[in-house]
């Protein structure tokens, strides 16, 4: 095997290049924060990279940061940065998880228990 072949097996563009060196997302998104596309991207949008467009296409139904990262095979941190860009530009909406103090809601526990029993 030609050692150069290894170059083509790997992702050629490094995650930090996709985020232009940014490692901290402005919006601190949890692994389970959900993103959904609210405005389709045409593909000729200024400043959107292929990964941004992939996310916009992927999130036609709500998907978590963790799911987007898994589907795109990118680290979660990279996905957070890309989602921050899309959020700023109004392509996606985000649903945050219940804050820890709010995980007291009786209705939520009942709904989850009923849902699990019905599985």
């Amino acid at each position: 095997m030609n050692p150069d072949d290894a170059l083509y097996d790997e992702q050629v563009v490094r995650p930090y290049v996709m985020t232009r060196g940014r490692t901290e997302a402005r919006a601190k998104l949890d692994l389970i924060s959900l993103a959904v596309t609210i405005r389709p991207a045409t593909g000729v949008e200024m400043g959107l990279d292929p990964e941004h467009l992939k996310i916009v296409r992927l999130c036609k139904r709500p998907l978590s940061v963790a799911e987007i990262a898994a589907h795109l095979d990118l680290p979660a941190g990279t996905v957070r940065v890309l989602l921050g860009d899309l959020l700023d530009r109004g392509f996606i909406a985000v649903q945050e998880p219940q804050p820890e103090v709010d995980v007291l809601d009786e209705r939520m526990y009942r709904a989850v228990l009923d849902g699990l029993r019905a599985l």
């Binding site: 959904v36 649903q95 219940q98």
Partner: protein, 194 residues
């Protein structure tokens, strides 16, 4: 109050549950048994903020650790979606996992009676952090069977921590474990104690 998207698209509220325990105890198996999707893997880069182990004295730069987590999903109608995260096997990374545990409704600590000590770090972690947890003993075919009270004693668990037997391969068994966890978490709500 959780705010939703402004355009009227209804989004479920995501809820996080953790499946912890030692390496090879069946965490991913359990995630896969109850998940509506094939378990996915995600990588999270964590920064060591207070390193107790592997202390690299004199090294100025922050250490980062990449941990891989397998996870699955269970939709609860249109209102909620449960994400089940199998925590990485290297228990020594627990101390940087506050991010994973933050906001989690609760945790299942999976135990194997052949290597019971493997779940000590998880039990310690959730006790210290105050995350509601239960212990589920995964019944491997060739593992010795113990009375649940013996397991409770060996793990030095408080009387209020539920311990149950399970088969991580079976969906109905995993489902029972999750129901027990949510019931336990419900009883542990600060409001429930008032």
């Amino acid at each position: 109050m959780v705010s939703g998207p402004s355009d009227g698209k209804k989004m479920p509220v995501p809820i996080k549950l953790l499946i912890a325990g030692g390496f090879g105890v069946g965490k991913t198996t359990m995630v896969g048994a109850v998940s509506e999707i094939k378990p996915l893997r995600t990588e999270e880069t964590l920064t060591d903020r207070s390193v107790g182990v592997d202390d690299l004295s004199g090294v100025e730069s922050k250490n980062t650790t990449t941990v891989a987590m397998d996870f699955g999903r269970i939709s609860i109608g249109d209102d909620f979606v449960l994400y089940l995260f199998g925590t990485p096997g290297q228990e020594r990374f627990w101390f940087v996992w506050d991010e994973l545990a933050r906001g989690a409704l609760g945790a299942v600590v999976l135990a194997d009676t052949r290597r019971l000590a493997d779940c000590f770090p998880s039990v310690d972690y959730f006790e210290r952090r105050g995350t509601p947890f239960i212990v589920a003993v995964n019944c491997f075919d060739d593992a010795p069977r113990y009375d649940l009270d013996e397991v409770k004693l060996a793990l030095n668990l408080g009387p209020d921590i539920p311990v149950l037997l399970c088969d991580a391969r079976r969906r109905d068994s995993g489902k029972e474990v999750l129901i027990a966890l949510v019931q336990h978490a419900y009883g542990r709500r600060p409001m429930a104690k008032v």
